[in-house]
C-alpha cells in the first residue's frame, strides 16, 4: 500500500510581513491626510485665532472678538463706510447669506463687518450705515475700535488696508480712499480661520454650504 507521499498543503494563505506593513502605512497616511486642510476637507485653512481683541459695535457696546461669539460660526467681512463700490457689495453678500440662513431656520452664526478705517467709522456712523441698508442687527455686528487693536486683528486675518487716493473738496477738506483686501473670512465654532472668499464676488452657494458644514 503506497502511502500518499503528496503533501497536503494548507488552504490558508499567509500575508507577507512586507505587504502587511505597507498596508498599515498606507492606511495611516490616509487617516492623517483626511483630517488635514485641503485633503478630504472642503477647507484650505485651519488657523486658531490665539488672541482676543477689544472692539466696539454700532451700539457702542464692547465686543471681545472672537470670544463673545464662542461656539458660533463667524462670517467676517472687512469694510470702510466711505467706500462707495466694493464694500457695499461685501455687506450685501453677507446680508444675503444672513437672510438665506434665517429662511432655512439655521442659527448659530454671527455676521461681523469690521471697519479698517476706525478714525472715521465711529459707532454712530456704522449704525447709520447698517440702518440705511436695512441690515438685521440681531446677529450682525459692525465693529470698530482703537486703530492698534484693529491693525493687530487685520494682521492675524491677513487683511491689508491703507489710505491711497486723496481728493480735496471745494472747501479745502480732504477725502481719502483706501486700497484694501477684498475679503470675507469664515471662522469655525472653535475660533479657527477655515476659509477666505472674495468679499465683493463671493460664491454665495459655496459660502452657504461651508457655513452649514461647520454648524
Amino acid at each position: 500500500m503506497k502511502h500518499n507521499k503528496c503533501k497536503t498543503h494548507s488552504k490558508t494563505k499567509r500575508i507577507s510581513p512586507d505587504f502587511f506593513y505597507f498596508s498599515l502605512a498606507l492606511l495611516s497616511l490616509t487617516i492623517i491626510f483626511s483630517y488635514a486642510p485641503g485633503c478630504g476637507s472642503p477647507f484650505t485653512k485651519n488657523e486658531k485665532i490665539n488672541a482676543s481683541f477689544n472692539l466696539i459695535n454700532q451700539d457702542s457696546s464692547e465686543v471681545i472678538f472672537p470670544d463673545d461669539f464662542n461656539h458660533k460660526v463667524i462670517v467676517i467681512g472687512f469694510i470702510y463706510t466711505n467706500c462707495p463700490d466694493i464694500c457695499p457689495l461685501t455687506v450685501h453678500n453677507m446680508k444675503l447669506i444672513q437672510e438665506k440662513m434665517k429662511k432655512e431656520q439655521k442659527g448659530g452664526v454671527e455676521f461681523v463687518a469690521l471697519s479698517f478705517d476706525p478714525e472715521r467709522d465711529k459707532p454712530y456712523i456704522l449704525k447709520q450705515y447698517a440702518g440705511i441698508r436695512e441690515i438685521n442687527l440681531s446677529n450682525f455686528n459692525f465693529l470698530t475700535g482703537k486703530k492698534t487693536e484693529i491693525d493687530s486683528l487685520l494682521n492675524i486675518m491677513h487683511v491689508y488696508a491703507f489710505p491711497d487716493d486723496t481728493t480735496t473738496g471745494p472747501g479745502g477738506e480732504e477725502f481719502y480712499y483706501m486700497t484694501h483686501t477684498d475679503r470675507i473670512t469664515l471662522i469655525d465654532k472653535e475660533g479657527k480661520i477655515r476659509e477666505d472668499y472674495s468679499g465683493s464676488h463671493a460664491d454665495l452657494d459655496k459660502l452657504l454650504n461651508d457655513i452649514i458644514s461647520l454648524l
Binding site: 462707495p84 466694493i86 457695499p88 487716493d165 471745494p170 486700497t179 483686501t181 477684498d182
Partner: protein
Amino acid sequence: MSILYFLFLTLLPTSGDNIQIEDAWIRPANAGMNSALYFNIVNESGKADTLYKATFEDAGMVMIHETYKDGDMTGMKMVNEIVVKPQTAFELKPGGFHIMLMNLKKDLKKDDKKEFELYFKSGKKIKGTATVKDKF
C-alpha cells in the same frame, strides 16, 4: 443769414439725440457719506463721444472713478473721461467705472429718485433720473 442761423444752431448743446442713458441707479447712503451712480451709455451715433463731467443734485462733489483689482487688493482711482465708441454701449457698474458722489447733502433712501447731468465733449448735456436701490 440763414446759413449763419444754421451754424448757430449746430453750436448749441443738444438734448443728446444720439446718446441714450439707460438704467441709472444709485446705492443707498447716508448724508455726509459717499455713494456711486451707475448707468448704461448707449452711443447710437457714428462718432465716438466722451463723458468728461457729471453733476448730481445732492452731492458736494462728483467725480468719475474706476475701481481696480490687483490680486486680492482693490482700490479706486479718479479718471478724467470715459470714451464711448460709436454704435456701442458702455456700462458703469459695480466693480468698474462709476460716478462717485461725495459728501452727500441728504440721505439716499431706497426708491428715492434723484436728478443728475452728464457732459460730453461733443457738447451734449444729458439729464437723467436715477433710482436709489440695492441692485448688485
